[in-house]
Symmetry: C2
Subunit: 339 residues, 2 copies
């Protein structure tokens, strides 16, 4: 070495902060806080704080961190589906549109993050119907009249969905829009079933002047969240099962009331106590009743079928009934974010 | 409503736990803990705890959460590059292979998470050279002999990289493998430069029997982390600049010593105190010296060039010199993870 050109020794004139494991976090937050938007500043400071605390507490090993981002990358690109933005696109790809599968939402779902977000965003006023997770299967559908069937022939066992929409004083809400979707009798949403040519087991309609609704569908069955991708590996890793308890989704809206995003769950489901996405709440667990005979079926235009149980046959249909209670619009400020 | 089929009232027989904002987390951890691998169990419990606490403390709004996963999805799929796994693939795509751009690693980098992981994974023993972040530009390269140039003609201003590799007793380490990579004089790594036909400004070589190394390259310059994608939006949002201070990467390995992943930074860089990925440490900040004349250049096979400063011309070359100190292998257990 030539000492004349080695100027390293004694070069302590830099004012660079040496950041160790304990003060790096404060530094990152500091340099990320030079913005005017207080909300974004706050969110990122907490995001950095928690992601760092997580890594600190677990002393994440490099190979573990590499596995994590490899996973996230795979998640973000899985699967590489054909984007579909319009009906024109749908006809071009020659089948019903498959929305891009959102593996990230699913990850959020199975980690309970979606449920947490739902809870924080839906603090119900006393007496109102509780909310539930939206899930990835909401989609556009047609408008129907009361007594119509949202399900194609042979989609499953006939079920009448009936009830009212009211406010907290018990007054009926007329003209509330109900957007309903459910699986068919095979546990598949229309978008998952290549046999389906368009919307099936989903539809929109309005409550009548007495706040009532009734529509015909099929009895939903338990189905697994998609587990053939990265999130399925997580579920396997955590020794968790993938089947959601059978349910029907309801998205209910009216200009004078808070939008309600909820679902009703079948009490007899073997998975009612182990929903992989943490959406079930006891107030939303329902008994789906068997209604015998043809009289009520005629009244609601409901198809009957022969049910065999304990060796005896009866003709009738299933009934899912619920009275939804909406909260008055709170006049919450418009929280448009720059994000 | 027909009271005969409405069995909702009084149906309190379910034992379903109602999980509110405060006890959902414990529940999710509980149902995710039914596994034998204690490490995975611990990591996921902390991941869930922190992600939930983050959402709780910030009361994340639904539109904010939607923006988050839309961002992550975009990050995961940005850009949709041609996968490239072998030299055969490279020739098929007709150009030097561009490794898939890892937007997630970059996100981790700018949030300081990568630096935190590096710190936790590289707790240096006293007296050893400190580590730095790996970054996304490490790649395969050729092997060189001492005095060779790793840089193509015209890649930048000639710089000799010289030093020794020693243990903590000051004894030279013979046969240590140095893997070096740096930008060219335009601030680009070879993989970012379409003009480059193969590896450039990167190479591998071994220390001699006295632990010495010397190789010719170019003086690196500051360059921005890729900011034309999702992470660039984050940097903009946080009012942060994207330029890393000029540096040379070193990955040094030897069977008897802990692998050292580090970098040396140019003290004169205007960004030396604001590295966007938090990789700089004062012990790694170096004075790059100007060596005048041709004598030493001949000794090390270094190209000289005419430098104009303050109106006067001198012929010489740049010198980056450092003595690296490696830690003895600790015999750490093989921490192969199931992840």
């Amino acid at each position: 070495m030539s000492p004349s050109v080695n100027s390293i020794a004694g070069s302590n004139s830099t004012s660079l902060e040496d950041l160790d494991v304990d003060d790096l976090t404060a530094h990152v937050i500091k340099v990320s806080s030079n913005i005017d938007n207080e909300r974004i500043k706050f969110i990122f400071s907490r995001l950095i704080r928690h992601s760092h605390d997580f890594i600190r507490e677990t002393a994440i090993q490099r190979h573990e961190w590499e596995a994590a981002w490899e996973f996230l990358t795979e998640a973000g690109t899985y699967p590489r589906t054909v984007p579909c933005h319009s009906m024109t696109d749908r006809s071009q790809v020659g089948q019903a549109c498959h929305p891009e599968r959102q593996e990230f939402i699913l990850l959020s779902d199975v980690l309970g993050i979606s449920a947490l977000v739902d809870q924080i965003n839906s603090r119900q006023l006393p007496g109102c119907t509780e909310s539930s997770v939206l899930g990835p299967f909401h989609n556009e559908s047609h408008e129907f009249n009361h007594g119509d069937s949202i399900s194609s022939v042979g989609a499953g066992q006939s079920m009448l969905i009936r009830g009212t929409v009211r406010n907290r004083k018990g007054e009926p809400i007329s003209g509330a829009l109900l957007d309903i979707w459910e699986t068919n009798g095979n546990g598949k949403y229309d978008m998952q079933d290549p046999e389906t040519g368009g919307p099936d087991c989903r539809g929109k309609f309005y409550t009548d002047c007495e706040g009532r609704f009734y529509i015909n569908g099929v009895r939903p069955v338990d189905y697994p969240v998609p587990f053939d991708g990265p999130v399925g590996i997580v579920l396997d890793l955590l020794n968790r099962q993938a089947y959601r308890p059978a349910h029907v989704h309801f998205l209910i809206s009216h200009p004078s009331y808070e939008r309600l995003n909820t679902a009703l769950y079948d009490r007899t489901s073997p998975n009612i106590f182990r929903d992989p996405v943490f959406g079930t709440k006891s107030s939303l667990v329902k008994d789906i009743e068997w209604v015998e005979g043809k009289e009520e079926a005629k009244m609601y235009n409901t198809k009957t079928f022969i049910r065999v149980e304990d060796g005896s046959e009866t003709e009738g249909f299933w009934l899912l009934e619920h009275d939804f209670i909406l909260a008055e619009t709170q006049g919450t400020p418009n929280l448009k974010s720059q994000l």
